[in-house]
Amino acid sequence: MSGAWDRNDRDERADEPFVDRRADVDGDAGLFQPPDPRDLERDPPADPECRRVRGMLRDYVDDELPGGLRTEIEAHVHDDGCRACRLALGRAELEVVRLRDALSGANVAEPGPDFTSGVLARVTGMALSAGETPRDLTDRVMDRVRLEWRGGGQRSWSVARRRGVVAGVIAGAAALAIVWMSLWGSGAGRTDGRVRVGPLDGSRVVVAGRELRPGDAVPDGQALEVLGDGVAELLLAVGATNDGAGPFREHVARVFGSASAVVEGGSLRVGSGSFEILTAGGLEVGVSGHGDVALDRGRYWLDALPVRRFDRELGGLGEATLLRLETEDGSASLVAGEREPLVIGIGRVARFEPGAAPQVGASPIALLRARSRTNELAGADGSGQRTSGRSPSAGASGSFVGRVLRGSSDVPVVGATVQVRWFERDAGGVLSEQSDKLETDDQGRFRFGGADVLASFALVSVEPPAGAGVAALPTTPVSLVEVYGSATGGGLELRPILLDVDHPVEGVVRTPDGAALARAEVQALLVDELFGVVEPVGGTVWTGTDGRYRVEGLPDRLDAHQRLVVLAAHDDWAPGVRLGAIGRADALTIAGSADVVVRGLEPRTLVGLEADRTRLPVFFEIPGLPPSALVDRRIVQTDGAGRATVRAAAGVRAWVAEGARARQLAFAPEAPDGAVWSPIDEWAEVGRGSLELGHRAVPRTVRWTRGHRFERIALAGTGDEDASSPIDVVLLAGDGGTSLPAPPGTHLFLRDARGAVRYLGALDALGRLADGRAVRVPVGQGGELVAVSPEGAVGSVDLAGVDAASASVRVDLVAAGAARVDEPLYEGLRGGAVGDVVLEFRCTDGPMAGRSFWRCVGGPSDLVESIPAGVYDVTLPDGERLSVTVEPGAIVRLGR
């Protein structure tokens, strides 16, 4: 990729749908001929009725208008004898006629003559013949399933289990993973239904307040909750070929810990939780906020984690569901909306975050498994048979080995006691817990052999020998599911277990002038960048009179996507953060001192709060932490007029939660001279718009704006209604020249000559206010009308030339700058078509210099709009940076 941008290339633009074609202002120009210049002289028509009719002509020609409106148009065009509109209607009709003519050869082929009989054959092939009950059908289908899976060609789950997997710790599942014996074929206690509850261990499955037992069917369309810290299994029977004749396939979803889901049409729609899914293929699982995940045959780990996090589009905190999908041997595709699927191949892990490019990497589980494959299966000669002895150290089939080291020096810990626990099933099928322990050798090594390849092991503790001077650390259980048998005795090698890595975090909390701060509260926080969540670790300590603190009990290791920070807070000071450093990949150390500087508080006034609420939870930013931390949450008391005085550090941002989302608040000092703060001047630099003004009544809703977020803080009138001229229909060209109705949701603002900003309302599909009200603007006094499209495109018109007698104004709309991204680039980046991709623009020269913002490229438009003129560094989803110059009125192309 060269990174070159071909700016304002007319030849290129001519091929694109968004070139400036201002001549086609009414959207009724002929398809194959330019509008008659004589007609253009009358465009746009001065008469409001004509404008209204023109806006409906295309729908009229397409026969999409209700009878009443059709009659109105016909009356206007024919009875009233409006020649201009009659011409426009003629052009619109000609356009359609020519289009239909051009496509007249289109072969709208009928399905074949056997189509209906074919459908019926498939339907009746579903055993829906007279007298057959659903139970018969289900059982018959399931018999076929069992036959298919037990027979050749399809993998049996029991075989799959024997092939073995060493599963990593599934996110959020701290519980011991249990290997389930194949129970689903027993049929005992089963009822009809596509999804049934399988074995439960330490978990409960609840639907509509009713607890289900193993074998119970899960009702369709109802929310399902899995409660507890154990493992629950769900058995899904889904017709994979959609033809009813099979093969039906049954899939297994193991749920670790608590989770929520809905069963829909025999499959799952996941709300939250950690799932392991084993599928024979053809399974689609929905994930809240992410669309459908189509799973080919294989084993998958799917984590759906609802988090509060920074929402780029919102510019504040929002709720989102993060999706992590990992597969060792399958291929999954994720489809959201109309996007082309993003395919995750074998041995990959992907993280999906709404509004951001997916992150794909190698699957740790697959890597672990690949490593374990070096321990070859014992084969069919019997050497890999299940161990008869009860002690895993007594047999010779499966084995795993490890090493215990001092975390600080990598010196082997000799004589450390390693305890392991596993479950075994006796001849009667009863599970019993077993445990064993041994000591490390002079190299700090330990080996557990004779592992039952069908069992699941957990390394539950590692204790240093007494008097060795090595600190014991709580060990996160290491779950080993399905340990391989090994003829070579090599065994599965675990990561080193590190002891004595509890370097305490020590430091001093200071004020900006360097003074030590006593009685400050200090916490270590683990920031998980993969999921964007923050959790405290190591407890809370307080500084002494010398400002010193010491935090202990930190985790013995961090994953690559985790980092540690130290947070200091004090009632009289704003919280401060000290970033930690990870000294090595598998052990945690804090490099250098961990002094924390807190900042001073000052009275500040929040504005834009809801006037009808007196107490609101407000979240304050802690620099250095992601907003999702939500650590600094305070209840603020408002004055009943949408304002609240708080003590906050200078420059800190604040959010207020509103249901599932949050919006950023403004502080009063940012507002000029007590007026409502608005960055609308920035918008004026963004673009100029085309607005047509007509006639209607007066709105009284007043909102103030901040960025593209709209915050209602008060009702206020300007007192200028008597001198106002109403607005009728507003047309906004949203893409640089094509004539389109203003998209629904377009927001109108009015800035009067004094700089105050009023929010007029949002438009509906007909260009009126969404709630049916009409709007009115003061005239003869200057000011500006501003429209913001739902995508953030901005247009404005100066009202200085508008008076009450002639309230029709039209100016050209030319976006100040827009960037187009080539689809091939997208495809190269994402493996899919244009979709929801966020590009980061950092302005290096121009009015926005020094500022960064994001633009989302998605939907039917592949334009990145609303880019102020300037020079930008653009960061693509894959991290590559390009330099581009955006000029007013230009469309620049991001190309190779």
Partner: protein, 202 residues
């Protein structure tokens, strides 16, 4: 339950054709397979044409259309009284076609070079003799340009002016809003116009 009644010789086939879609669906829910057959006959053209527009392959379209009706049948108990059948059916059809596309992993390059035998855009070619070469050239040009549009714009236009779908039907099929359909159709027309002006000028 799922006990279906096959049409007997004594049934009046004409009675079915006078029933509304929703009445037929209720009969299907009650086990009347003859009613289902009538529904298939009633909607097979619209479903097939939708599938053809999206998949552009006769075989795939027929399979998707069949899948659509089988899914409808299997989900018949989920149909609620008072709802309209057609939007639901079109949504199923649209989803089925998208699933098929997903599986097929169609990319635009391959679409552009579809084999006529497989029902590519060549199927839109009027086999009749064009009365004027100019008109024929224009048509070919339109079709070429239409084919080069992205599906987001091409599908609404084709469904509207080739298949005769209403905006509502297009919206149901594609899972988008009616206003979005209007916008896409309008933009597609604009794009075609722009490109054709250029071509015709040359």
């Amino acid at each position: 339950l799922c006990v279906l009644r096959l049409r007997s010789l004594g049934d009046d086939p004409g009675a079915m054709t006078t029933r509304s879609d929703e009445e037929l669906m209720e009969l299907v829910q009650g086990g009347d397979i003859a009613a289902f057959e009538d529904l298939v006959d009633r909607f097979k053209s619209v479903v097939y044409s939708l599938a053809m527009s999206m998949l552009r392959s006769r075989e795939d379209a027929e399979e998707a259309a069949q899948d659509t009706f089988v899914k409808l049948f299997r989900a018949r108990d989920q149909f609620e009284r008072g709802r309209s059948l057609e939007p639901w059916l079109l949504r199923i059809a649209g989803n089925t076609c998208r699933d098929a596309l997903r599986r097929r992993k169609v990319d635009r390059a391959s679409v552009a070079s579809l084999d006529p035998e497989n029902g590519g855009m060549e199927q839109l070619v009027d086999q009749r003799e064009a009365d004027e070469s100019g008109k024929r050239a224009t048509r070919d040009c339109v079709r070429r340009e239409l084919e080069s549009l992205s599906d987001s714009f091409r599908l609404p236009l084709v469904l509207k002016y080739v298949n005769g779908f209403t905006n509502r039907q297009i919206a149901d099929s594609l899972g988008i809003s009616v206003s979005n359909v209007k916008v896409r159709v309008a933009r597609a027309k604009d794009v075609l116009q722009s490109r054709l002006e250029r071509v015709l000028e040359s």
